[in-house]
Amino acid sequence: MLKINQLSVKEKSGRFLLDQVSIEIPSGAIIGLTGHSGSGKTTLLRSIFGMLHTDCQIKDGEIFMDDTDLLCLSRREHRGLCGKKIGFIPQTPMTAFDSRLKIGYQIQETFQRRLQLTKSKAIALAKEKLDLVNLKEKQRVLNAYPGELSGGMLQRVAAAILLGMSPDYILADEPTAALDEENSNLLLEVLRTQMQDKGILFVSHDVGALQKLCNNVYVLGTGKVIEQGNMDQLLTKPQTDWMKQFSSLSRKESQGEWEWEKL
């Protein structure tokens, strides 16, 4: 279980980016996280990875991964856990990789250095995982530069790296935001089938995805958890203003038709 317990993060001007936030991500579950922009979602992710900006300070709380408080670890130890125990799916796949180096090199670099594999074993592992995410032209992908692949393909490369590293927990930062519907469904499919035993935190605005995938959804608002529960519950019985707006918008959307309203 990845347990965030009463986490408070303060920035230099005194504003609390996160205020007593508590979230539980059990192994094998997919937990949703949503909220307006600036509500603290990114800050939460950064705190878990130990990569807060230097202006920000953790004022209170703990982050327990199984039995270890991540906030008590040294920088090096914390970095050691990244990738291996906690994985990440980036929001913008197009800028997530170093544009100067081939994808193959970057995947191989990750596997070599993090899993202590030899170069050939790393490449073999990469090919194996690319298969699982349905990227059939493996050699082409490995030889390509990030700029030569589409957003959907890059996102699947990220998923492949996750499969290779096999972390216990995965944080997905709006993974479908930059994708079209087809690629989005493909990615969600991978998340659902290949990563069943992992604890996933799924940050998103995509109502359909949140409904389909998540057991439990947290709603963040200005640094606090303002609502929590099953997605259907939240949509039908919204408590806060934001949730009310969100649910009314998404109701229209899920009908898939234009709606004209009298003002």
Binding site: M51, C82, I86, F88, P90, T95, F97, A158
Partner: protein, 313 residues
Amino acid sequence: MRQDMKKYILKKLIELLFTLFFVTMLSFLLMRLSSVDPATAYAKRMIGSPTIEQIEAIRIQLGFDKPLLIQYGRWVIDLLHFNLGTSLANGHEVWTDIATAFPKTLGIVSLASVFQIIAIVVMGCTVFLLPWKTPKNVLKIICILGVSIPSFYLATVYLDFFAVKKSLISVTGNTSFLSYISPALCIGVFGASFYIPLLMDALEHESNEDYAFYARCRGLSESRLLFFHFLPRAAVGLIPNFLQSIGLALANATVIEQIFSIPGFGYLIVNHVLDRDTPMIHAEVFFLALAIALCNIAADLIQWAIQRKKVVV
């Protein structure tokens, strides 16, 4: 793609020719406009108290009586035949003097560049890897000081301290390789102080990019990121700039060589300017411009190649 590059190189070569033409023409033109008459100066040096007829004879002999364009034309033709004339001061072949002096300057400038690169990379990376903010600020302050201190002052202090007080290096007549180290260090300090903050800013910029965040989330260490991702990208941006500064260093060498008494190109120029030795000055101006312009072309080419790659990919 090749076609593209050829076009660009051609354009740059034309610019080169134009630069050379401009600078040498400027040199001739300014001589003409100067109040000191080279024929008189030469005559005075050779004869002591020359008569007007003697001055006129010398003027005709050296070709100073012909109109400017003809003088210039003749010089260019001679240049193309590798004949740069003879020095007015010591009668040496201009070409020989330059050929012996130039490699020395080149040696100093190259060594200075090596020192700079080592200093920039070592300092920039060390400060980057340290987790505290203070070393970065301290280094930046040191660098601002570094570009404000005249390099010739460093040279003199250096010389006076090490040579005179500690007798570690000889003061005159240096031609061995070891003697290049001191002037190279003095030139290098300025360049390093200039580029270290630039590298620091570039590394900082790379560190804040999206790919850096994701790479850290995969657990790659800071040093791995620095040496295999940030540094190469930052360096690529700085290389064209740096090559241009090599050209600048060549010009700066004039002063430094004088101080360390190294008979390099700069030393030559200064002495000939003091002597109003016209043929030498024209030739030296030409070579200086050529060397600097070549560095600039190399810098521009690399810059252009980088930008092209970015657009394609």
